[in-house]
Symmetry: C2
Amino acid sequence: MENLRVSSTSEPGATAGAIANGIRQHGESQVLVIGPRAVNQAVKAIAVARSYLAASGVDLYFTPSFASVQIESQERTALHFVVRTRHPLTTALPLAATGEEPI
Amino acid sequence: MENLRVSSTSEPGATAGAIANGIRQHGESQVLVIGPRAVNQAVKAIAVARSYLAASGVDLYFTPSFASVQIESQERTALHFVVRTRHPLTTALPLAATGEEPI
């Protein structure tokens, strides 16, 4: 599974949709962010994704950790988020069963 | 339990200690942040707190949601984090038993 890259200009609603898609397809989403504004956009997107999925009785949580990434030959410190569902059956969400898009 | 306020100038190590203390005393910590840099500091603090507690076999996760707060008679949108442990026995962490400070 690839990391979802979220930048300072990412739109939280669209990012929330991408996170929700990752959850439906893989049971989790992984997000990589560099810099305060990108972190802020990613956290807001997760808050939005939680509200999308709340109607289905699914909740999301995430665990942040530090990561080192190479950008243009320079080492940068990034934050890596693993977003998971608190619902026990991640592969059988009501959203996936109905085919409805969360956004 | 009071919200821990984290600002753009909060030091992640000290904030991580406060979060870990909340976990030990109440089983969870609640964090309130306004603005991208404060969000970034709080998320970094949670990443640091995870590394403090990892040696005890305890992991932390958190759920972000939007909150409305009044600051100087103005309504501001904040983010509210509930930080919980993935260890099933939050009241009997090894750290609390030994009395060791995580920082």
